[in-house]
């Protein structure tokens, strides 16, 4: 089995927020391409890992970046002793052998790169390998999932309309306070009351979105702060190094954040 390295053996912890597990399962049954939107650090990637585990599919993740070309996804010829040999890219691998292919932060990739997924995301479910002169028909288990953070969207980085309209979308947000506290407590290994406090702080920083912050503190950040606290770092200091300092360089905003955090505890 060529994809055994991509199988997820242990259940990745995921706390469902609503019907997303059922929805994704339904979309997977139809092999519909899925787009996952949501702010940074809210659990998009974790969700996909969890679903791949739950559905028993291998998961191939590609972190997209600006310099990524279509060959980086699809594959390329490499030179070897006998001449040239074709090497499948991650996308082709998933298409051939039936994995969930997860393109993380797809908007980071250039638009001419993202269009390679088009023939895979409609009825055809094919991937033409132009250079190899091969038409790969998607394995029945293949499913494409992309994610992006709408908060980063700008005129310079956005999905093409023709790309967007091929997906069903799941919109993620930060979990509600109680659930988020549960997640933080579990992932960071801190007591429930510390987790509750961290979540309360996070909610306040999210209020500051648009007031000097592009994004509030994410669940991921809270877990980092919680882990520091678990290590014996004081709450104020943990919040300072894990929440305040990373999130902004603006002195005024930092001051406000510190004041707000002081009001929370």
């Amino acid at each position: 089995m060529p994809l055994s390295a991509y199988q997820i053996a242990e259940e990745p912890y995921f706390e469902p927020q609503g019907g997303e597990v059922a929805l994704f399962s339904a979309a997977h049954a139809l092999r519909q391409p899925v787009m996952i939107k949501g702010p940074t650090g809210c659990g998009k990637t974790r969700f996909i890992e969890h679903m791949a585990w739950r559905l028993g599919r291998p998961l191939i993740t590609v972190a997209c970046h600006e310099d990524m070309t279509a060959s980086d996804l699809v594959g390329r010829y490499l030179l070897d002793a006998g001449g040239t040999a074709w090497h499948d890219g991650p996308l082709t691998l998933a298409v051939r052998h039936g994995a969930i292919c997860y393109l993380d932060e797809i908007v980071e990739a250039r638009q001419d790169t993202t269009v390679v997924v088009h023939p895979l995301t409609d009825d055809r479910r094919i991937l033409p390998l132009e250079k190899k002169n091969e038409l790969v028909r998607a394995h029945p288990d293949f499913q494409l999932v992309i994610s992006y953070n709408p908060g980063y969207q700008s005129v310079l980085k956005d999905l093409k309309e023709s790309t967007k309209q091929r997906f069903v979308a799941l919109d993620f947000a930060y979990p509600d306070a109680e659930r988020e506290a549960q997640i933080v407590a579990r992932e960071a290994g801190v007591a429930k009351d510390v987790a509750v406090l961290l979540v309360r702080i996070a909610e306040r920083t999210r209020n500051l979105k648009g007031h000097g912050l592009d994004e509030g503190a994410s669940t991921r950040m809270l877990i980092q702060a919680g882990r520091l606290i678990k290590q014996g770092v004081g709450l104020a200091e943990a919040c300072h190094v894990a929440l305040v300092l990373p999130i902004t360089d603006d002195m005024g905003v930092r001051e406000t954040l510190s004041d707000v955090i002081a009001a929370c505890a």
Binding site: N207, A236, T256
Partner: protein, 595 residues
């Protein structure tokens, strides 16, 4: 490390200081932070403004809050430095509690002033309790201001004011032992009523009862001299629905002050605004405004204008006029730059980084440090197939060289005089500051750029100001012209864009860019059709594209989506909802555009 640890709050001592005020941080500098604080704590939005502190009549000033606008005193007498910082935070946190947990206003009906004051006090305590439930740290913030009143001293005369301040404390900290039966009654009834706090009638009833008790105790209450304690609380004018002149005097004055501020916001004399614009200091007008009449406008060109109704270009329709630029001391620009060192640092870093350019991968090179796989493979295939292979099979990285000329075109029409929600800062002053930061950073790196500005007064007078030309350094001359820039009149964007396009097109650069910064829709006094100038500007943008000049727009108007995308095309503009962010955003936009 600038960690304000919560523990620090406890150790604070509130020392009332001499009333002489040394250089305190002006309120205008505090307001952005306080607004963020309010938003952070409660996710609430309110306008924060200054309550002008003229005259020394009222000793103890309080914030005034009418539900939407929070008026803060310019200074709290007797509070300075860190204590003052904390007091402003406390005041904003308290007003925010009203905003977050308040409800419909009370009707004064037949209530006596004392009862009104008491009900307000109970409501204050209620919202604070609710706020502290959500944000326990607020207790630490508010507590010192209660303690500072030193109310537990025995033998204090039992005036209504003292009793009420003590009641405020008893409600704030119910665990304190009380020696006064009235206070104990008030406290116990207040907390007994906790399940009914949602019902405004309950507090109203309780307040009336307590008021009656005080009346029977023959405690004097003078509504004219009464001020809410502790100092961070607001005057509670926003809690009541006064349709007649309100009974307590203080409400009256605060409302009057509110009105006074409104009128001060738009001062009739232009001179005063300019003085305020000039950096907030109170020097007389910059002396250099007058010697050569800078307002002698001379026609220099005629520009066509697109009549979208007729579907044709009206030749020579708009007259471009220029004048000797007004100047002001170049040191002002210096001061703007120094005022925000963080922005200056970030801008410089950002632009330096952009200047160096990102490494570009040059493929199919005759020589290089890596094999270009695609080319090598192609060569190998060609070899096997018996073709003559392309020998350029290497690739290398090189820093891309940028060859770019940018013209920044500023809209300095009347509307840029508008102040940004709740502060004394105008859009124009932020714009100027942002441009100063960008220019200083660009000058450092030697990018070619020019800085022009425009406004218009009908089609015969499209005023075009040259602050900095391409060939000129961003030195004292350009700086003093930037400092001397004043807003006014209308926005005839198309004509100005055509001039800017010509200027940019003359530059021998690979890429030529006009960056328009505008805060509103094109308009002018002689145009009634709102679409006319929009369409003309759109045409001007198209002409620029034809001339090989890219036009990009930064819109400072939250509602500008429609016309901006009409004029510049979707994807060729960004909107900045919060004007204060412009100094930070402008360089980012520049960097993105020039990649």
């Amino acid at each position: 490390m600038t960690l304000s640890s919560p523990a620090k709050l406890d150790t604070s001592v509130l020392l009332p200081l001499e009333p002489e005020e040394e250089e305190e941080r002006p309120l205008s500098e505090r307001i952005p932070g306080l607004r963020r604080y309010l938003a952070g704590l409660y996710g609430a939005r309110a306008s924060l403004r200054a309550l002008p502190g003229e005259g020394g009549t009222q000793v103890a000033r309080r914030t005034s809050f009418d539900g939407r606008v929070l008026f803060l005193p310019e200074a709290y007498r007797g509070f300075r430095d860190e204590t003052a910082d904390r007091l402003y935070l406390a005041a904003v946190a308290h007003a925010g509690a009203h905003l977050a947990f308040g409800r419909a206003r009370f009707e004064p009906k037949s209530l006596k002033p004392l009862q009104i004051a008491l009900i307000s006090l109970l409501e204050d305590a209620r919202v604070e309790w609710l706020a502290m439930e959500a944000l326990p740290g607020l207790r630490r913030l508010w507590r010192p201001f209660h303690d500072a009143l030193a109310l537990d001293k025995d033998g204090a005369t039992a005036t209504a004011e003292v009793l009420m301040a003590r009641l405020a404390l008893a409600l704030f900290d119910p665990a304190r032992p009380l020696d006064n039966p009235w206070l104990a009654k008030g406290r116990d009834m207040f907390f007994a009523a906790m399940p009914e706090w949602d019902d405004p009638g309950a507090l109203r009833l309780l307040g009336s009862l307590l008021g009656n008790d005080l009346g029977q105790m023959r405690v004097q209450f003078n509504s004219k001299t009464y001020v809410v304690q502790p100092v961070y609380r607001d005057d509670n004018a926003g809690l009541w629905e006064f349709d007649r002149p309100p009974p307590p005097e203080e409400d009256d004055t605060s409302l009057a002050e509110a009105v006074r501020i409104e009128t001060r916001e738009k001062p009739p004399e232009p001179g005063e605004r300019e003085r305020r614009e000039a950096g907030g200091e109170s020097d007389p007008r910059p002396a250099s405004l007058s010697p050569l009449d800078p307002d002698q406008w001379i026609a220099v060109a005629r520009m066509p204008e697109w009549d979208h109704g007729a579907g044709r270009l009206r030749p020579d329709w708009a007259t471009i006029v220029e004048a000797t630029p007004r100047t002001a001391p170049a040191a002002l620009v210096e001061r703007w730059l120094e005022a925000r060192p963080d922005v200056a640092r970030r801008t410089a870093g950002l632009i330096r980084q952009a200047k160096v350019g990102r490494p570009a991968r040059l493929r199919r090179q005759g020589e290089g440090d890596r094999l270009d796989l695609d080319a090598a493979v192609r060569a190998a295939i060609d070899l096997r197939a018996g073709f003559d292979p392309d020998t350029r099979v290497f690739e290398r990285s090189a820093l891309s060289e940028r060859d770019l000329a940018m013209l920044v075109l500023l809209d300095i029409s009347e509307s840029t005089k508008d102040t940004i929600g709740g502060t004394a800062t105008s859009v124009f002053s932020v714009l100027r500051e942002a441009v100063a930061h960008l220019s200083a950073a660009l000058a450092e790196t030697g990018d070619r750029f020019a800085l022009h500005a425009f406004c218009s007064n009908g089609r015969d007078e499209v005023r075009y100001r040259r602050v900095k030309e391409f060939a000129e350094p961003f030195g004292n001359a350009a700086r003093s012209r930037l400092a001397g820039l004043r807003p006014g009149l209308s926005t005839r964007m198309g004509a100005a864009l055509r001039v800017a396009t010509r200027e940019a097109a003359r530059q021998l650069s690979h890429r030529r860019l006009v960056l328009v910064v505008t805060d509103g829709e094109p308009s002018d006094i002689d145009v009634t059709d709102p679409a006319y100038l929009v369409e003309d500007a759109r045409k001007a943008v198209q002409e620029a594209a034809g001339a090989g000049v890219d036009v990009f727009c930064v819109g400072l108007d939250k509602t500008g989506e429609t016309y901006l995308s009409r004029i510049f095309g979707r994807g060729n503009f960004v909107q900045i909802g919060k004007v204060e962010m412009l100094p930070d955003r402008l360089p980012q936009i520049y960097v993105r555009l020039t990649r």
